[in-house]
Amino acid sequence: MRIDCNAFLGAYLWRKVPGTSPEALRRALDRTKIDVAWITHLPSLFWRDPTEGNAWLYETARAEPRFKPVPTVHPGLAIWGQVLADAANAGAPAVRCDPTYVGLDPAGGEMRVLAAACGTARIPLLLAVRLEDGRQRHPNDRAAELPAAAVRALVRSDADVRLIVTHADRAFIEEVHFGSTPEEARRIWWDICWIWGPPEDHLATLVETVGVERFVFGTGQPLRLPENSVAKLDLLDLNGEARDAIESKNLQGLMT
């Protein structure tokens, strides 16, 4: 069983990306033997009200059992409580908020209130550090990357909130993990898509130092080739149990 917690549907604002339709994602899942994809509506991440993409997302996920919707919440808009309730009612495995894309302070009051509400609702909150390499972003794509300090602040802001952080590299993960108490660190999961494999062996090091239970399978597709996350695992010397944990069990545990 392989679950991709970090997939998108829909066109990307800043460059041409192939494979953004539901049909194309299905083909990519088949190609890379991914059983389930947690999906977000990509275009609406950049809208004034990013939750306006959620209706399409739910409808698309209803039509394909392999898709699980990860709707977007904007805690600066009045309707956000209802958006969170809708997500819970729809059985969404997580909700996401990318605060810098909508002009929010990533560790500010709105985000802390959202973190607390997610904790109460028992819904993990998913955040991306970045979507693209900062060196290649479009000249007008100027939203800041998610700071590691914001992740530390959010996990400290509520005792029940659980965070899934995607597109983080080794330095970011180490800064947050070892800058948190063990109890706080146990409420953060990291997707592997941005962590380097050999010869630098960042993922192997992190599995050793941070623990296999903290990592989940994510790809960032179709902005990134999903083959990359599979290749990282194929290059690791992991036993079957540890690989299962990353590929599905850790995420399945989050949903219970």
């Binding site: 460059r15 041409k16 990306v17 192939p18 494979g19 190609r31 693209e132 390499d133 060196r135 290649q136 000249p139 380097w196 494999g197 050999p198 010869p199 630098e200 062996d201 597709q221 179709p222 902005l223 990134r224 080739l225 083959e227 990359n228 599979v230 290749a231 990282k232 194929d234 290059l235």
Partner: protein
């Protein structure tokens, strides 16, 4: 056959205490991926006693010596680019002759001098004389100066390539950061510039654009410092290309531009 045209190794005179582990990791991962030949360079001391991209002549020599030793230790798997700093013309040319005579098969230019600078002409002339390719470090669409390097972009490399139309130039790591589309547009009509697919970037659409822009005859597979991304791109290419086309990218294009006999089944 699978030739990695963009690899690096480390050595004792770098700041990396884990240099042996990193070298071993590359070879181990290479075995899993199926890499037949790692064509590698060592950029001086990688910042230990002179900057990575502005290596001093003694560090250049020490790095090249370390790579020659690795090539001797792994004659079945490791091939070398001689790394030089073009600001030291006499040293650079002497180092190229020394290391090619000792069995290296290409020239690596990092970011010590812009690619369109006349100081690169004597290097390119020697590459032509010895029939070896030049791997040029590239920042894909450099919009400003970056600290620690005098990075070149594809437009500057193409200027050099047009001055030396009989030399094969390898545009380094199309996935190594920056606007790869800008580079692909620049190199489209410059037939002696080859595109190395290495780098940490695994952007959806990048490989399709590479094929569209320069065709399979000018693509070279490589990894640089992230072998997982190299393997991912190779796996995806297997779904895009026919076997004969894939063979060009895997090794046949490399075998064409490197000296005859550089690779086992060449």
């Amino acid at each position: 056959m699978l030739v990695d045209v963009h690899a690096h190794f480390y050595h004792a005179r770098t700041a990396r205490a884990d240099w042996r582990e990193r070298n071993e990791s590359r070879l181990t991962a290479g075995d899993k991926i199926g890499i037949t030949a790692h064509v590698a360079s060592i950029l001086g001391s990688f910042g230990f006693t002179s900057p990575t991209y502005f290596p001093s002549p003694p560090d250049v020599t020490a790095g090249n010596d370390a790579l020659l030793a690795l090539q001797r230790a792994h004659p079945d798997r490791i091939r070398g680019y001689v790394c030089v700093n073009p600001n030291y013309t006499a040293h650079a040319r002497a180092e190229i002759v020394r290391c090619l005579d000792a069995g290296m098969i290409g020239i690596k230019l990092a970011a010590s001098r812009r690619a369109d600078d006349p100081l690169l002409d004597p290097i390119a002339a020697l590459a032509l004389e010895r029939r070896v390719p030049i791997l040029q470090h590239i920042w894909q669409h450099r919009r400003r100066d970056w600290p620690g390097q005098e990075a070149s972009d594809a437009v500057e490399l193409c200027t050099l390539a047009r001055r030396h139309p009989d030399v094969a130039f390898i545009l380094a790591h199309i996935g190594g950061g920056g606007d790869w589309l800008h580079s692909l547009r620049a190199v489209r009509d410059v037939p002696n510039v080859y595109v190395d697919l290495s780098g940490s970037g695994v952007d959806g659409g990048m490989l399709e654009e590479c094929i569209e822009s320069v065709g399979v005859n000018r693509l070279l597979w490589g990894s640089d410092i992230t072998m997982d991304t190299g393997w991912a791109k190779l796996r995806y290419l297997e779904t895009l290309l026919a076997p004969a086309e894939l063979a060009l990218v895997r090794w046949k294009n490399a075998a064409r531009i490197f000296p005859a006999g550089a690779f086992p089944s060449d």
